[in-house]
Amino acid sequence: MATFQPFDVIRRSASVTATPPANRGGEVVKLIDTSKCIGCKACQSACLEWNDMRETVGVNVGVYENPHDLTPNMFTLMRFTEWDNPKTGNLEWLIRKDGCMHCEDPGCLKACPAPGAIVQYANGIVDFIHENCIGCGYCVKGCPFNIPRISQVDHKAYKCTLCSDRVAVGQEPACAKACPTHCITFGTKEEMVSLSEKRIKDLKSRGFDQAGLYNPPGVSGTHVMYVLHHADQPHLYAGLPDNPRISPIVELWKGVSKYAGLAVIGLTAAVGVIHHILQGPNRVSQEDEQKADELAEGGRG
């Protein structure tokens, strides 16, 4: 495996002067091949183990998801979908490992107001730096995949780090290490894309003619990619967005509205200053006081 340099920050949240793009050689990708997943949840266990997190014992409501959703502790979650394929009449069990997609154009980072709370490394990993996090929850609004969760313990945002700490020392993420079927593999972007091509070819030869790679262009691609048997219908996989993008509301909120807002406030203050310079103070004259006195005399008299 190549030596990665995860601490070359290429993007930093709420920082006016962004670090200039470093050498991007060495972009990493975690490839998740849904066709190989057996739903064992070893990845979830490995994730909890490596990140030293614990989930409270939950309640079985008759579905396989455990816990029921991503939580501030559970950064990855197997999502199970039973799908009746109308073409073949087969019942298909679609299992998708949900978690941060490490977007090339990260909505969380764009929405974050705290300088340095979210960073993107040269290798593509998007990481939350908790000492800078203020717990505002803006990343939740920025994310097109509904991934970040706010801890009710320390009021900070949590999500998959793509094991940036492991990757930093040349190891693969804990989930990839634990996966017994090589459904999760980790490596350079080139390696993973070429591996996915092999897998897609294999799937197509076995009747999945719509098999393909999920690397959505709406977020300029992701550093977690899926091989899907039904790449034409990503939403089948527990609501994976068909065409994810940063919400236009978030783009507006974090884009032009900031400058327009500051301009409106600044202009109003400037108009006030100019008005005062041109007109001078509006003072009460002696005549006004006398008129008032006369009114008071008359009014009482």
């Binding site: 505002c136 909120w253 005062h276 009014g299």
Partner: protein
């Protein structure tokens, strides 16, 4: 207040409780503005240091907002009747050019306790406080659950995105109107004592709120300045 003429009258404009109420709202507004602006644009983030850093600013902002909403409700109830629109407001607005000139008020109609500009500030802030409250609750990670349980409704992320955009927009408008409010109080000399000491000079009433002054004189609510 002209001190050289001992016999000038002064008129009570705000009671002690109204002034305390106003200043609670004012302090909350400034604190909300500073903590809110710190999250509005990265260049303003250092303002959060006034509150002990970003996490504290983020934590305290919604609570200050709750205090403001309650206190503003007090002001709303107090000043509601005197801020209802009337015909002279439209005449006043039509002659806004004369309002904006420093010594050109003779052409304006006599106004009551509030002119159309002050009424605009009152109603605009009332609406904006309501909007900021509703959208602010939507953005309040730790407080939203309480309101959701109360109303039996779960906010979607899409709704929270709208809340963020609308909250920011409404805050910009509220700050703009606040600048107008503060500037008007400074420009029209003799106004600030109304909210600090509770009194204005008779001449101030004659010049700016003659109808109101006539009423107060009629009721005998005037004092000789000793």
């Amino acid at each position: 207040m002209a001190k050289e003429h001992a016999e000038h009258i002064r008129v009570r404009r705000y009671s002690g409780s109204a002034r305390i109420n106003h200043w609670i709202v004012a302090i909350c507004f400034v604190a909300l503005m500073l903590s809110g602006l710190s999250l509005f644009h990265p260049s303003l983030y250092p303002l959060s240091d006034l509150f002990g850093g970003g996490q504290n600013a983020r934590w305290i902002h919604p609570w200050i907002g709750m205090v403001l909403v309650v206190a503003f409700l007090g002001l709303f109830v107090r000043f509601f009747w005197q801020n209802l629109p009337e015909f002279t407001d439209f005449v006043w607005l039509a002659r806004i050019r004369h309002v904006l000139r420093a010594n050109d008020e003779d052409y304006l109609p006599e106004v009551g306790k509030y002119n159309a500009g002050q009424k605009f500030v009152f109603w605009a802030q009332a609406i904006l406080v309501g909007v900021l409250f509703v959208t602010g609750v939507g953005l309040w990670e730790s407080g939203l659950g309480y309101f959701e349980n109360l109303l039996g409704f779960k906010a979607t992320i899409e709704q929270k995105r709208w809340a963020a955009l609308i909250h920011a927009g409404a805050a910009v408008l509220a700050i703009t109107i606040w600048i107008i409010h503060v500037y008007a109080a400074i420009w029209v000399r003799g106004t600030i004592p109304a909210m600090t000491r509770g009194f204005v000079s008779g001449g101030w009433g004659w010049r700016h709120h003659r109808k109101w002054l006539r009423k107060e004189v009629g009721k005998g609510h005037i004092q000789k300045v000793a």
